[in-house]
Each structure stands twice: as C-alpha cells, then as structure tokens.
Symmetry: C2
Subunit: 435 residues, 2 copies
C-alpha cells in the first residue's frame, strides 16, 4: 500500500482552497454566463471586463462571427482527425501562408493551441546535447517544452540581456558542441514588460550560431506596424529565428503558430511535433476567425492606435490615483499590491463594484509580489474606463494599496519589478529538472 493515497495527497490543497472560498475571496474560475466583449455577466451581475486578452475586442466583431459561422457550414463543427491524417483543411494552409507573411517569415506551422506550439516545437527540435537559455518569466508552456526536450535549461534574470550574455558565455565554454537556443517572450503576460529584444539578438554578434526564439503571444496584433508583433516593432525580424504566436489573445480564437525562414526545420517540425501529429486539427470556425481578424487588423490600424490611447489614459489614471503600475509599453498594466491576501480582498471588492479583474499571485509572480493584472481592449468606451478608475480610486484608499501604502510596508525594499522566479521557470521547477 502506498504511504499516502492519491486522495490523501490532494486533500490538504483542496482544504486550503475551501478555506479561501469560505473567506469569500476565491477569485478564479468565475463562470461567465454571457459576454459582450468589454462587459460580461457572472452570476446575474454585469461587470466591466478589464482582465481579457482579447486586446482588440475582435471576439465580438460581426464580421468575425459571420466568418466563423460560414466556416462551420463549409467544413462542419469538428475536424474529425489530426491535421497529419484526416483533419487538415485548405484553410489551415492558407492561414499558415498568411501568418508567415504577417510576421515576415517564409513559412509558419499551425497548432491547435499556443501551449501545444511551444511544447511541440521545443521538444521535437532540441535534444539532451543542447542548451536552452530561458528568461525566468517565460510562460509555463515554454518550460514544458524545454523539459520534454531534455535539453539543459539555463534560466537568466528577467529581461536582462547582460545576464543572458554571462550565462551564454559560461554555457558555450562548458558545452561547445550542442545547439544554443535563447527563448524570450515579446510582451510578458503578467508584468506587461516589453522584451529587451535588441540586447538579446545582439548576442548573435559574439555567438553567430545562437538561435533566438520569440514567444510573441501577447505582442501579435498589438506591437509594431499593423500589429505585426514585437520583432517588427524593433525592426529585428531577420535576427529572430523563430517567431511563435497564439490566436487566443488579439486574434480572438484559440490556437498557435510557429514561423521561420528555415523551411527544412519547419518541415521536420510538422512531422515530429507530437501535439500537432497527435491532436485533432484546429476547427474551421476558429481558423476562419483568425483569418478575418488578420484582415481587420491590416485594414483598420485605428484599432491598434485606439488600444494605445486607452492604455496611456489608464496608465495616467492609475498614476493620478497613486497606484503603482508598470510602464505603458504594452496593454498589460499590473497594479502592484504585494500581499496576496490584500490582492484577493481588493479583487473581490472590485468584483462587488462591477469590475472583473483578477489577482496574480505566486507562482505566476514572485511571493509577496501579488498584482491585480489589468489589460484593456480597444473597444472599451471612455465611460467604462472612467467608471473603472473611479472604483479603483475609492477601493485603493479603502484597502491601503496605494504606492504610498506599499512604501510604508517596505514593498520596494528589494523589488525591481518582477524579478525571479517568473511564471514558469521557478527555482523549484529548475531543481526538479535536476540541472
């Protein structure tokens, strides 16, 4: 008999969650019974949504909904198989071409989720002989891919090209023969930080064989000319070997892709990425959604501009209230709280006052560095934003989460934004890998 049954192993956690629920500030898995994009209904209550990744508000665009409905009729509701076998649509291939052109690469390979894309691509391309340099705040799906690949995983301090350079020098000396892959996000999902990509790709001058992999899940549709992403924003598309993106943010669907100029590598990947070969293809309705979103983004640059306007307005509003937030370099504007309990109580009170925003706590951010993650959409109305800022102002004072309150509690003593550990590559995770 095992020392502990599976139930006994899980119970302490379940009791902990029950405790939080009993105290009334469990904020997760809120069931949305209806959505109008910038507003949602939960348990009969209408709320202003400031926690969605639907940055351009395209999820409710009538053109998108019509295209999705038409695709349902043309191909049916489900793909009926893996793309490798009976579930490959001409629409998938058209979207691959379209995405490659959109991000400025020769070819792209579609997957059914963003998680699958990172997992499948990294795991099938890298081996135990290789080394991966990974920003400490990279997404969990990147870590999952790294672990499955068996490559050496070397984390570097978040968004710190100098730290990456040091690690790279050490690694190249120690492991002269394997492939070196550096992975960063374009826009980091929790902090909203914009990658210091120029400093990272500059490492190629010293290490010409270094490959750079950019997860631009939160940058596609938002950053750069026509929302073509973070590499375009910096004019560094040629220097980035792999651009990965998802459809579940600005592209109003689910799914993911990886793009590159290296046709051989992508052809290999298409036949070896396990979640691609062994998952059903992306439904036609989702694929058509993404195609239509790209049409709209390319033809209506005012949507991206409007998102930036709103982001700057909210940032200024937060500052005026006296909240501590990040720079407005992306639509993700976290409000720093520190205490995890305070973040939970603050979010619960936001909810009571008609605002849907969620706390991010460890392990999504470091311990005692809890934030309320807010992200706005280009379809938000001025009146909605004014209302949210009013509520924020009232509640921030009530809960004592203004920057001045944080200072009093010593929040800034050794805080430099979001330092390690990040949402995926925590020290614990790394020690589990045993490298």
């Amino acid at each position: 008999m095992p020392k502990k049954t599976l139930t006994e192993r899980c119970q302490p956690f379940t009791r902990y969650i029950e405790g939080i629920k009993a105290q009334g500030f469990y904020p997760y898995f809120r069931p949305i019974s209806r959505s109008w994009g910038t507003e949602v209904e939960v348990a009969g209550k209408r709320l202003i949504m400031i926690g969605s990744n639907d940055y351009l508000g395209l999820s409710h665009d009538p053109r998108v909904l019509e295209a999705a409905s038409q695709a349902l009729r043309r191909w049916g509701s489900g793909p009926g198989g893996s793309r490798f076998l009976s579930g490959n649509l001409s629409l998938h291939e058209e979207l691959e071409e379209r995405l490659a052109a959109f991000v400025g690469k020769k070819r792209a390979v579609l997957h059914v989720t963003g998680f699958s894309t990172n997992l499948g691509a990294i795991a099938c391309l890298l081996t135990a002989q290789d080394t991966i340099l990974c920003d400490r705040e990279n997404h969990a799906s990147i870590l999952e891919g790294c672990q499955a690949s068996k490559a050496r995983l070397i984390p570097f301090a978040h968004n710190d090209p100098k730290a990456a350079a040091e690690k790279l020098h050490q690694a190249r000396e120690k492991y002269p023969n394997g492939i070196m892959l550096l992975i960063t996000e374009g826009v980091f999902s929790m902090s909203g930080d914009l990658s210091l990509l120029p400093g990272l790709v500059a490492l190629k001058r010293t290490f010409p064989d270094l490959l750079v992999y950019l997860d631009d899940a939160h940058g596609i549709g938002v950053m750069g000319y026509q929302g073509r992403g973070t590499a375009t924003h910096f004019g560094l598309t040629d220097q980035v070997d792999f651009i990965m993106g998802t459809f579940s943010k600005a592209l109003a669907s689910i799914g993911g892709f990886i793009a590159s100029d290296d046709i051989d590598v992508l052809e290999y990947l298409r036949h070896h990425s396990k979640p691609l070969i062994f998952s059903a293809g992306l439904p036609a309705s989702c694929t058509a959604t993404v195609m239509t979103c790209l049409d709209i983004i390319e033809h209506e640059p005012e949507r991206v501009n409007r998102l930036w306007e709103i982001t700057r307005k909210v940032h200024a509003g937060y500052q005026e209230i006296g909240l501590r937030t990040g720079e407005p370099v992306s639509p993700v504007l976290p409000i720093h709280i520190g205490s995890e309990i305070k973040a939970g109580l603050f979010a619960a009170d936001l909810f009571k006052n008609g605002v849907f925003a969620l706390p991010a706590v460890f392990p999504a951010v470091p311990r005692n560095k809890a934030v309320i993650r807010t992200a706005y959409m280009s379809t938000h109305q001025e009146s909605q934003i004014d209302y949210v800022l009013e509520v924020m102002s009232k509640l921030a004072t009530k809960h004592g989460v203004l920057a001045s309150d944080l200072e009093e509690r010593g929040y800034f003593a050794n805080a430099s934004g979001f330092s390690s550990p990040g949402p995926g590559v925590s020290d614990q995770a790394i020690s589990q890998i045993g490298k």
Copy 2:
C-alpha cells in the same frame, strides 16, 4: 559552433519526405477544401471519407451547427483567457456536469484538447515516487503525461491483462510505497481493438490500491448503452477510477475531459494541470457543439445502432474480398498490408479512385505492419459503402494485398495483431526515458 546546425539535423528527414513526395505516394496533410461529412473535396476532387473519427457524423448536423453559431453570438469567438482567469464559461461548467453524468462519475474537468487532458492530468497527479503501468499501444499524449510526471513507466504487452498482472506484481514488490496507476485505452485508435478491461480491473482484487485510468477517446459516443463508453459497455464504471475522453471523435469538436468520483483529486487537478491553467479555455462554439452532440446521442440511439450495422457490413465486405482486417468490435477497421511502401501505393490508388483513407506506418504501428486505417460513420449511405467495397476489391487484387498475398509473403509468421511497439510507448521511447 555546434557539430551540426539545426538545419543540418533536419535536412536528411526533409529530403526523405521530398523523395516520398516525388514518388507520388505521400499521403499526409491532404488539404480538405470542403466537407460534407461522409464526402470531402481535396484539390478539386470529391472523395468518400473513410478515415474520419467523426463516427456519428454529427459534425454536419444542422442542430449542432446552429448551437455552435448561437454560442458564437452569446460569448464571442474566443475565450479571451484561461479558464482559471478570465476564460471560464458557465457553459464549461454545465458541460462538465453533463459529461460526469454521461459517463457515470461525480465530476469532470474540461481541457482544451484531449492531448492536454492526458498530459495535464497524469503529469500533475503522479510523481517520481510512483509507477505507471502502460499498455504498449497507448496514445502518445499518455506517454507525454507519463514522461512529464517523472513516474516510473512500465509498459505491458498490448491488451494483455496477464502481462499487466506480472508487471504489477514485480513493480509492487520493488516499489512498495508509491502510487500505482494502470492506463489503458478503451478502443485503441489504430488497431480498433477493444480493451480487455474486465481482466485489467480484476487486478484490483489482488492490489486494492491500484488506480485504473481509462482513455476512452474512441469509445465515448460509440461503445455501451447510449454511447456512454467502454466502462459502461462492460458495466465496470465503478471499478475505473478515471475516465478520460475527447470531443474530437464522436462529439464532433475538439477538447477533452477527465471524470472521477474523487472530488478532492479533481479539485487538485483543476488547479495544477498546466495545460488547463496555462491555455485559453475551449471556445463557446466548441463547447456548445459537444452539449448538442450529447443531446442527440442520448435521444437518438439509432445513430449508434446504425454505426454498428455499417461496421458489420463493411467487415463482412472486407472478408468477402479477402482482405485481412480486425474484428468488428469498434468502428475502426484496419486493413493489414505489411509493407509500408505497398500501403502508401494502395492508399494513393484509393485516393485516385475517389476514396479518402490513410496508411498508418511505424511508429503508429510496428515496423512492416503497415495498415490502411479505415473508420466508418453512421451517416454513410449504402451506395457509398458499396462503392468503397468495389474499389477495395479491384485495388486489393491489383496491389497484391489480399490475406492470401500477405500469407505468401510470410506476413503472419510472427504477427499477433498489433504487438509491441505501439503508437506511443515504443521501446525507443522507453529507453529515452531511461527507466
């Protein structure tokens, strides 16, 4: 500099694929430009589809399409976030309740794909102290979950409860303290074999702490009363601890779920399954599709009955032609070919003659045990089936792939159906894990 660049590593495979394409029998990633369910259009050519997992043909049911379109309008095209955060729909929770009741368990947890379900569930519940007994033909996503969990992976001969018992005895002696989980599929996707589930759950008499995990991707909607799955078929629902299923087969969508009577374990899983927490939620249109499919399956048992009628008819037809196939215990009827080249040429000729069916070769099946995987739908017309059988008869003789031809070539010398290695747990994969 690495000994070989990533491009150099991938090129030999890419050249190999180019060679197959040049010879005209590369069968994969065929782009479907339109689908009517039982027929599809590829490159302007209309074909009868006998390779889809849409077993009940619900992917084109007008009620399903209408429900999916309505859900698009109510919730939008994309979820905008992870279920954990801003992408949880009341419809997800309704579907979880519905699925739990459908398979006879207390609760179910939804994931965005079937692959994610196996990966997330197995990886978060098991640890390096635990042992997993795994049928050699289990799906790649199960293997991926086992590897990510770090548990000891012990494969047993395909669908062989006696072999499983031996391995279990050895393992329990050697590792007395960890959890033991036995994983099997209900209906095996390539061979169409039905799990010998009674023999497997009988091991619980000797090992009361053994947990049984049933991946019923190909059984849900097809096996048992009202298509409630393989556990229902055998009347063994109480003996199976976890029932996992996907929506990309009979339920005409994408996604997956895991059901159990253990609320504590599922609550833990819901907060720790990485592809659940770190992927966007299932789009409303996909979720509504599954709900409507369950309505139809429960109210129209004639669909499942019709599927079995067709399966028996095709099986008899294959036998009459002289093809070697499996028993008609599931809608998957592989045609045994042996030679991988012959399978490719045969499939290419089927295509030319208006039939869409694909070869399964190593590693999906053992080396030189290639098959044409055929699977029928309850919406196939008699005329379509008659046509397919006619084509099969003509081409089987032409290509020399009748059972008598196979016998001449010594195909049956040491063939016992699909023995090791299976689609996921190959010896190579196991040696890679190093256990």
